[in-house]
Symmetry: C2
Subunit: 486 residues, 2 copies
Amino acid sequence: MAKNNGKMVEAITSMEEDFAKWYTDIVKKAELIEYTSVKGCMVIRPYGYAIWENIQKILDGMFKATGHENVCMPMFIPESLLQKEKDHVEGFAPEVAWVTYGGNEKLEERLCVRPTSETLFCEHYANIIHSYRDLPKLYNQWVSVVRWEKTTRPFLRSREFLWQEGHTIHATAEEAIEETERMLNTYAEFCEKSLAMPVIKGRKTDSDKFAGAESTYAIEALMHDGKALQAGTSHYFGDGFAKAFGIQYTNKENKLQYPHQTSWGVTTRLIGAIIMTHGDDNGLVLPPAVAPIQAVIVPVAQHKEGVLEKAGELYEKLKSAGIRVKLDDSENSAGWKYAEYEMKGVPVRIEIGPKDIENNRCVLATRYNGEKTTVSLENMLETFKDKVVSLLEDEIPQGMFDKALENMKKRTYACKTMDEIVKVLAENGDGFVKAMWCGDEECEDKVKEATGVGSRCVPFEQEEISDTCVCCGKPAKKMVLWAKAY
Amino acid sequence: MAKNNGKMVEAITSMEEDFAKWYTDIVKKAELIEYTSVKGCMVIRPYGYAIWENIQKILDGMFKATGHENVCMPMFIPESLLQKEKDHVEGFAPEVAWVTYGGNEKLEERLCVRPTSETLFCEHYANIIHSYRDLPKLYNQWVSVVRWEKTTRPFLRSREFLWQEGHTIHATAEEAIEETERMLNTYAEFCEKSLAMPVIKGRKTDSDKFAGAESTYAIEALMHDGKALQAGTSHYFGDGFAKAFGIQYTNKENKLQYPHQTSWGVTTRLIGAIIMTHGDDNGLVLPPAVAPIQAVIVPVAQHKEGVLEKAGELYEKLKSAGIRVKLDDSENSAGWKYAEYEMKGVPVRIEIGPKDIENNRCVLATRYNGEKTTVSLENMLETFKDKVVSLLEDEIPQGMFDKALENMKKRTYACKTMDEIVKVLAENGDGFVKAMWCGDEECEDKVKEATGVGSRCVPFEQEEISDTCVCCGKPAKKMVLWAKAY
């Protein structure tokens, strides 16, 4: 425990000892969230919210680059509107919050707080789409939604959470399916490049589809404890919603047609995924692309002549290169600062003290692997700046990704029988299981009952583990990815 | 009515004929909003939302430059939490939406959808503030809030609206008051520079303060129809909330103290203010800083050889200069396009046709004053680009501001008696009235009853219109700004 100036960097529970407590310790002690008296809802604190802002900025840029526009729908949905699409209301009605009074007056019709906004987008599309010239509409919104969960955990499952929901509408099924795939690929690219988090792309089985969807695609990531986390989903709706909401357009031949729709979303859950993919027993480990502070400069023996001045030069050099850099010249000890910024997951720490200055160099410590390198301060600090940029843009994200991918590979097991699944997981701990499936929902349920792992998705990249279903022994149709999940 | 390709740019009601209808026509026909089946709530469409995104980006930068951090609080407030500060609950309880059910279960305690978040911030501050080292906290959030209004109008008054709410907490009253003033000045600067909208800064009278505030500052703008619009507010709370919520800190002498708080906000109402300050009978007129499209290139006789090619060059030149530029090469006629982008308020239209190309020039038309100028395309398009930049950054915002200021001055009347107020308004139409006040709430009410104008604020820049109260004739204490208001 580094202690200083009345404050202390508190230790966190180790992962091995209690993974759930380790997680909660990090979200609290890295000051990502704070609990509130509103059960199941949280305050996202500045450091946590800054991560979300960085996620938003990158994703929003990717959405706009592919022609999407942001809009904002109301947060309320009248009960009659929610009920228009049968599967959709069945899926969501049991878990929505109902507004029944406005001021002192009871409402004539109760309103739910949006759990998702398909119904509102459909109502809007019915109003504004008339001709093929009005298609496609490629809309997205950044809002919060509410689902009345029984058990909640910060970022992973909360009654209110932040997300983006894309809702698009197209003239043809082909275009809509292409969009569904494009956005899943966008999510996968974002997770792998910006979050350094490998994901498996695939299609959900029918039992796990979004309420009202024809097909749901998902990306699945593997957490440190061997559990899967669904990091993003993309749904193809066919023309089911269009029919339920009476959305029609006249095509070039002047015939009335039903358009085809999609929706897709990622949530603040991604912050939970970052924690559980990269974190360690010293705290958070943040991918540089979304880290609120990308590099922190810690002066050593800062009272000595020239130290703060040199630290200031390094700060200006990195700042002018567009790096999110912090110079901590507070009176806390260097040791306290090391522990604090390790807890907060800052990707690069720069140490500069009298001896470094004497030798015209400084030390760079990278958070994810704990390595230290010495870099020269010659050449107008260009060498130093180039090294930090290279760390943040290439070496660290690549290193973090490789480390996470290695963990995923190590914990991915190909199994031919249910007995093998049970045995492998008991011996090695939780992880991804690849096993064949006949396509029968009953077998899917039985695998979960017997082994504890449920189907996560049917990966796009198929392998042939065996010829027969892991459960019933009949001919297999698909390889499924199975796991325990968040 | 320019008509083309099956689409038509519809005319809007003229301002003179029916100002309210003119306003509604613009918000609908410029595709800023669309109505929904959720009474009093609206869809903010891409073009409207893009204006809000630009407002957000500029303001968020100003907030961060003054040390503020973004956070996110829950959208729900338990009834018991709302009730902690007496004046606050009295002000807001009659107009909140109440959630009473979560799924099928009745909640033990009902939750209101936040109408504003002082209570949530206070609860959070009580959790995280202990020592003088924890102060100040300079927080802000960008969210939507709900107030159950009876009559609603797009942007101006809706049951749900988007806003930012800043909430800060300080060791001393002086610091908090300084913050309250700083943020009011920030708002005024934003309105005047980025929205080209002159505002009057002042303090609300006690009858018009925010529920729970010690003092409320506001900026007031004057709309085209002579009505005032409150464009932003900043509140100083003293230590009232801290006492109600038990927020205390130990100072350097280790004594327990109550901190002092502020809050401040602006809303999507600003979009309504832009419409009614700058708009005209041809539609929207947008200030360049927040216009989704800053310049539109309209090729004339685009089927002629070289026209689209040259238009493309102009597009690339402006785009690489960071201008939000659109090239409309659709098959609609040039006339249709002129009308369309006038309706949408695009600040600069660039016309380029065969004759222009022959003479190596193009025509720039500025939306707010309808003026056309010819600019040379020599010098690698540098002259052209410089002219467009100069229009967008200097000439247009300054011209729009001057025009709005002239209108405000023309419609500001200094009056010494209530009879004079009635007479001046009858003769000249609505506007700002400057008149003296004794400080008595009864007189304030009487002025409103007798003349129709209510007190908007006590301007920071005081003038002495006379010695005596415009109502009772007793010695005057302050000059008040009076007006009818949105």
